[in-house]
Structures are given as C-alpha cells and as structure tokens.
C-alpha cells in the first residue's frame, strides 16, 4: 500500500510510529500534485512553502507526543474558503487577484487541528455549476476518464482526492456540490446539517443553503475531518450551538434495526436502469446487515429543483452585489463613470453562468414577481421540509441514487443550463430542508463510479457516518483508485 492510499487513521499511526514525518507526507503529496495536478486542472493554487512550514510545525508537536488524529495530515481547501495571505479566487476572474486578509473559521479550525494545506482546489465559478466547467481557470477533468467531468461545483476537490493528490479536500454543498462530484469520482462526500459547520469565511453563494463539508476516500476519514470542522461559531449567526460528538467513536455501532426509507419519487421511470441496479445492490447489502427497507413518499420533492432555482439565484444575486470593483477584486479599465465601473467590472469579472443566475435572482425578487416566485418557492420549501420530517417519523435514513447517471462528457451539457440543473434532482432536497447527507461509492455503472446517497435527520451525522461505514466494511468500492493514479 502506498502512502497516498492509506486512510487517515493509518497515516496518523504512521506519523506517530515515526514511519514517516509530516514533512515527508507533505512532500509526497506535493510531488503527486506536481505530476498529476496540471493535467487534471484540479488546483488553482499550490501552497508548497506554507505546507512545508505547517508540516514542520506538526512534526514538532508529534515529537512532543502532542497532537490529535489530524495532526500532520495534508489537505486542500476548495478555493471558496478564505485563506489568510493566500490567493482565494472562488474560481472567478472577479477574485483572481484577491488575497484574503483572514482565515475562514473552517480553515482556522483545521489548521489548529494540525492539518497541512497543500493548495486551493479548482471549482465552478462562485460555486455555481455541476460539472466544474464554469471556472475562470478552466474545467477540471475526472481522474476516472479525463474526457469526462468530475462534477461540480467542488470538482477540483473531488479530482484531487480521487487521484489521491491529497487524502482530504474541503468542499461546499448548496444544491449537491459535494455529493454529486463525490458520486461521479468514487468518493465519500458529506454535506453536514445546515448550521453544523461555520460559514464565516466561506464565500457565500446561497446563504440559507450553503454548507461546508469534505471529500475523502471513506466514512472513517470523513468522521475525523468533520470533528475538526464542526462547531459553534460566534461569527456566524446561523451557526448552531450544539456540542460536536466523537463521530469516529460512533462508526462501529451495529446496524441492527436500522430503518431505511426508499424514496418512491426517486425510483420512478426517470432513473437510469443501470444506476438503479447498482443502488439496489447496495440496499441488499444493508438488508444483509440487518436493516429494513420501507418505501416512503415525499409528494413535494418533485418541486425541489424549481424551488431551488428561485431561492438560490435570489440569494446569490444579493450576495454577489458586493463585487463591484470598489474595495477589492476585479475592476474594469478606465471606467467612464460610476455606472460604467459597476457594469463593466461585473460584466467582465463574472462568467456567463454567474450572470445568468444573478439575473434570474434579480428578476424573481423584483417588484411584481416576488409573490409568484420567491414567496412561492419558500412555501414549497416548507412543504418539502415537512415531507422529510414526516418520512423521518417512519425511517431513520433515506437512501437512493446521488445522481441520475454517471459522469458525462466535458462540453456535453454546457449549451443548455436546464440539462445541467437536472443533475441535482436528487441532491437539492436535502439543502432546502437543511438535512445532512452524504454520498458513498457503490457498484460502478458502465465502468464509471456511482454514488449511493444517504440522507439523515438534522444533526444525525453520527448515524450517517456509521451507516456509510458499515457498507464500507462489507464492500471495497471506496478503495478503488483510477489506474493512472494508483
């Protein structure tokens, strides 16, 4: 087994046993980044000096017998997290020259836990996209087949971990941007409950939907990272004051009696038959482990995509108004007057998808349309949340496919936004209801990774990780690495 296919506990054990140092670990992954990163276009910035300095500090702590399970472990941060003194672009020309003057809470917490930052991962511009094709820095390739997309918006994070250029990548999920790329790249990707992870320093797309999480190779690894990321933050009014459990300790609890709900609406005639087969195979494993399967219905779930495409653009149209060429970010050349400054800085600084969503959001909030669109969407949101609550009265977790189909070709869906939006039909509901959800690899579909989605009750990440881990003890899909990166 090579270093880059070790799990986090294995890496931590190796560091403690002196098999390798944190600096050696960092060098190893930096080497892989140098070799494979550019072809995949997975990273926007590589922070080698910072990484080595942080690794040296980790080694000092380890030598004193101090440190925790994440000390010396390398990671990359999605380029949506502000990192002090380090370029933070959000995948956009608008912030291409932006050096953040502060660390996001997530960044600070993981730094305090001893993690080593190798670089900033590529992403869809301002987190808007499902294929990582809207980035100002160009598309990211799927390590399983570089003619295909890795998914988005956290495509760079997914490609990084899938190619084992780092064992961990932070990411964010607003409509599926962690789970969908995790599914397309064969990874374990977790979106925590809304409010579980601080949004301070996480550049906002849609404030009531955004949540920070991570991508790793396994639930075991995710549990450790979540413990490092999660927690109440006084700087975030939507952060929830709730103790962070020991997620790792809950991993091995027996599954007996687990009630799994299968969403009737997700297993309808729209689902790719091969994908269905793979998911049902995974469900059979759960039955073998003692879980029961029940059909549940969420009658309003079919409206989740329309509701999302009102709420998310509305919030983003407002969140992105601060990008105006005045205090930071891109400014157009020779502005004639104030209006020209705004229009051209924003018109030139933002890409087409971002502009599309800003305009959609502006429209649905505008006078005369607010009731028909925004208000209506928020009402539907409540219907969906109520549906989930009712379902969780009968079952403990809800399972189904993460995506309708495996990875598609670069350029396949870029001509029509709607076909791109439909990638998120299974994932969006959890964002609207603020529920935690993860995607883990199940049997491949036509030789490409496929994801099983597991949705849980609010703040039930312990159970989600436990349930995911149980599957990963029985199967080894999550250990597969594309041949070129073994």
């Amino acid at each position: 087994m090579s270093i880059h296919t070790k799990t986090l506990p294995q890496l931590a054990a190796g560091l403690r046993a002196g098999e390798f140092s944190a600096v050696e670990l960092a060098r190893h992954f930096l080497g892989r980044i140098e070799a494979h990163g550019p072809a995949l276009n997975a990273l926007i910035s590589v922070t080698a000096d910072t990484a080595l300095a942080q690794a040296a500090e980790a080694d000092r702590l380890l030598a004193q017998g101090k440190g925790g399970p994440l000390t010396g472990i390398p990671l990359v941060h999605k380029d949506i997290f502000c990192t002090q003194g380090v370029r933070t672009t959000c995948g956009s020309r608008m912030l291409d020259n932006f050096v953040a003057p502060y660390d996001a809470t997530v960044v600070a917490k993981l730094k305090a836990a001893g993690m080593v930052m190798l670089g900033k991962a590529n992403m869809d511009e301002f987190a808007m996209g499902s294929s990582n094709e809207t980035s100002f820095h160009g598309p990211v390739k799927n390590p399983w087949n570089t003619a295909l997309v890795p998914g988005g918006s956290s495509g760079g994070s997914a490609a990084t971990v899938a190619a084992r250029l780092a064992p961990v990548a932070t990411a964010t999920d607003t409509g599926g941007s962690i789970r969908q790329p995790a599914a397309l790249c064969g990874l374990t990707g977790l979106k925590p409950t809304y409010g579980r992870v601080s949004r301070y320093g996480m550049i906002a797309f849609a404030s009531s939907l955004d949540q920070g999480g991570m991508m790793t190779a396994s639930a075991e690894d995710a549990a450790l990272v979540l413990a490092g990321m999660a927690g109440f933050d006084t700087r975030d009014s939507t952060s929830v004051d709730r103790p962070v459990p020991d997620y790792a300790a809950a991993l091995d609890r027996p599954l007996k009696g687990l009630k799994i709900g299968l969403l009737k609406e997700f297993f309808d005639k729209g689902l790719d038959p091969d994908m269905e087969r793979s998911v049902r195979e995974a469900l059979a494993v759960y039955q073998k482990l003692g879980a029961t399967l029940t059909e549940v219905s969420l009658p309003s779930i079919g409206l989740s995509v329309p509701a999302y495409y009102v709420v998310a653009p509305a919030e983003c149209s407002s969140n992105l108004a601060r990008f105006d060429g005045v205090r930071f970010g891109y400014r157009c050349q020779d502005p004639k007057d104030l209006i020209d400054l705004y229009k051209r800085s924003r018109g030139e600084g933002f890409g087409a998808e971002v502009k599309r969503r800003i305009m959609t959001g502006t429209y649905v909030l505008s006078a005369g349309y607010y009731d028909a669109y925004y208000l209506k969407a928020q009402q539907v949101r409540r219907l969906i949340a109520n549906d989930f609550e009712r379902a969780f009265g009968e079952v403990d977790v809800i399972m189904g496919p993460t995506t309708p189909a495996p990875a598609f070709g670069l350029g396949d869906k870029t001509s029509d936004p709607i076909t791109m939006y439909l990638n998120d039909i299974y994932t969006i509901g959890a964002n609207l209801a603020g529920l935690p959800a993860l995607s883990i690899p199940c049997a491949p579909v036509r030789q490409l990774p496929a994801g099983l989605q597991i949705i849980g009750r609010h703040f039930d990440e312990e159970r989600l990780l436990n349930v995911a881990h149980a599957y990963q003890r029985e199967t080894d899909w999550h250990t597969k690495v594309p041949a070129a990166y073994e």
Binding site: P101, D272, L303, K355, K376, A377, R382, T419
Partner: protein, 131 residues
C-alpha cells in the same frame, strides 16, 4: 411565439445520458404552464438593475436561457401552498443570537486596502458621483 418546449425536449432526447423515460417526464413538466418568454428589453432592464454589462449579441442568448429557467421554475405555480408559511431558514424555531455591545475591532485599514483597486488618503476611490 415559439415555445421553448420543443427545444428542451429535443435536447433531452439527443442527450444519451437520459432515457426516453426522463424525456417523457420532463416534457410533461413543461407542458403544464404558460410560457415565460423573456423579451430583450426585460433582459436590458434586469441587467441594469443588477449592474451587469451585456452586449447586444448576448441579449437574445440570455433571453432564451432565462426563459427556459423561468419555464422550469414556473412549475411552482401548480403547488398548493394556501396557508403555508414561507421558510426562510432551514432549521425551524431558531432565533437570532445577540452579541454584547463591545468594541473588539482595531484599525486595519492599511492591510485591508492592500486589495483595493484605487485609494487616496485612505479613501476608496470611484469615478466622481454627482448628487
């Protein structure tokens, strides 16, 4: 007035990733409601409100994509939402935490202005505004 429907249906049908079933499914969605076709002057006024420069050639492109998005979104009309309270926050029952009235920020303007495109005498500069 050309419906956006046939175009979407065609796209879905030729997209190998989607089965016939999916095409059928979503075609039905679109048939449900009235067209929401964006006119070029609407695009111009939205772009102005949002302070985005859009070139002449781009206007019809955005008009079409926004029309499609609004068609997708128009499905919300069908939902029975009488008496349903809108949900602005995903976690029910939470209220705003209050912070103690204390000053903890210090003068960091030099550091913050390192990112600024143009400053003078510690002020952020913009083209002159006449009130």
């Amino acid at each position: 007035m050309e419906l956006t429907l046939p175009k979407v249906a065609r796209t879905l049908a030729t997209d190998a990733t989607y089965s016939k079933a999916t095409v059928y499914h979503f075609t039905l969605f679109f048939l449900q409601f009235a067209e929401c076709v964006m006119k070029p002057e609407q695009i111009a006024s939205i772009a102005h409100l949002a302070r985005l420069s859009i070139s002449e050639t781009e206007v019809p492109v955005y008009a079409e994509s926004l029309s499609r998005i609004l068609s997708l979104v128009g499905e919300l009309e069908r939902a029975g939402t009488a008496g349903v309270a809108p949900m602005a926050h995903p976690l029910p029952g939470l209220t705003q935490r209050l912070r103690a009235d204390e000053v903890t920020e210090t003068d960091q303007h030099e550091r913050y202005q390192a990112n600024a495109p143009e400053t003078a005498a510690s002020l952020y500069l913009v083209p002159k505004v006449i009130e």
